[in-house]
Symmetry: C2
Subunit: 326 residues, 2 copies
Amino acid sequence: MTPPVLALHGGCGTLARELLPAAEWDEVRAHLAQALRAGWGVLGAGGSAVQAVEATIVVLEDSPHFNAGHGAALTSEARHELDASLMDGATLQAGAVCTVRRIRNPIRAARAVMERSGCVLLSGPAADDFAQAQGLAMVDNAWFTTPRRVKALADIQAARAAGPTAQAGPAGAMRPISEADRHGTVGAVARDRAGHLAAGTSTGGFNDKPPGRVGDSPLIGAGTYAMDGVCAVSCTGMGERFIRHVAAYDIAARMRYAGQALEQASDHLVHDLMHGHGIGAGLVAVDAQGRVRAPFNTLGMARGWIDATGHLHVATHQEVFDAGRA
Amino acid sequence: MTPPVLALHGGCGTLARELLPAAEWDEVRAHLAQALRAGWGVLGAGGSAVQAVEATIVVLEDSPHFNAGHGAALTSEARHELDASLMDGATLQAGAVCTVRRIRNPIRAARAVMERSGCVLLSGPAADDFAQAQGLAMVDNAWFTTPRRVKALADIQAARAAGPTAQAGPAGAMRPISEADRHGTVGAVARDRAGHLAAGTSTGGFNDKPPGRVGDSPLIGAGTYAMDGVCAVSCTGMGERFIRHVAAYDIAARMRYAGQALEQASDHLVHDLMHGHGIGAGLVAVDAQGRVRAPFNTLGMARGWIDATGHLHVATHQEVFDAGRA
């Protein structure tokens, strides 16, 4: 039996510490810990890495603090269009949905696509219909809306109306567009007792995104990849860059073909390739030996993992908190 | 000045020779040659690889003989949902559209997304609206329909209704589901006078596909990839497998990280990885030195290229025809 491993991220677009009261940061960390416990419970009961990743992400989707499911970003038309993907490293089976509007937990729809559609990626209303036919929980689009996203969209659209100077200017009455407005995503990676790897990612995209825009999160190879014997990766950051660099699979390819370690391959992506272009980027990843990496090049990245002694570790900025035993 | 290079494919789902009259095969080859001439004209006039790939694919989209644009496959609901992507190896900029229904030439929309949307991938009606706003030619969905696809869909749906035995049985009144029903796609790769690479792919998916299904063709890394100094690749085959293996980028990664030649990397994908699983697969690719590969593991693959002396070569099955000077 291989010791299970679990890690998650809640996006590399963390707000500056002073922009939220301490009690809210406490709640963010509590939700990260709750998500870890959900996935860890699955692994402890002998569940698969795929099931653990799904269970972890469902908690993050249901939390208002993360840009996925409830709490997702709004498009320029003030609607939610959600993307998610899930990949099983044991079989290379994968499932994903993009621009869905009514599925409460898009990561569950990604799993249903993987297991029951014969496809890898379903898009738009047809994906909503598929999820409904599969018996998944459906909601009105407004269910995903939170006051924070409504305010963020209004701020961005007001800043755009006021011209580029206002956006770049010092923070005043109008908050400048932050990484938090741009790079929200949640994701998880796991290794189960049988040694199998899995990865999943779910997102609302970014505030004020154009309708129909699909980022890296639902794209196998870009935002998500898992391959037994190599690694499982879930990315967060400026999706278009992750697509062009096929980021998640590039980490696996560097390990497969160039003999790089997970640390080297994932740090290169986040700290050299993306950072060198001023691209906010982060990820969580686990390799076949159970080593976890969670690099980011932004102010912070909501993240968490469970160490070999069963202790939960959660963080939003540099400081890491011990959240007790799982 | 680097000598320009151009190659194309019209999908690895070629019908058996005896299923079409000789005059139709002549016309298929004539359209392949016409597409090559369109792209070659662009390269000869000093145009970019991106422009040449677009010009080549437009001709294939407009031909009724290929599963892209006019002549595209029908979904299970007897509609057309088209996917396309385009990538510039010089900049790693890329653009793509998926499940679009009204854009006459989806490859043109992919270019517009790349150059003018700030996104890489736009999906569904919003992508149609974007293309229309960009001034691209729009058509009714029925414009894409050809008698051959209507008949194929009817045959497939009748065979499904009759049960699995009828599908597997000998060809009689009911034609069995062929590779041609499954793997239609068009694509092109080019190297321009400046030595830059580009790749593009366009498809209607497969006959009787579920609504909302997105294959590998619009996914950067899966069906299409281009990176200067490495290679440009456009794939055709069972899209879900290409997505899981991140096929187009995997060829680039084997070249970048394992030092493989294009021939080795692309032949491995088509003849070992996919063929070993019974997956119909093909591709066209060009490397930085201008070497062209067009492997396929099916009965045939519509394809064409222009050699260093300026002669066109086109083929649908094993035999290659010299179609004269470009």
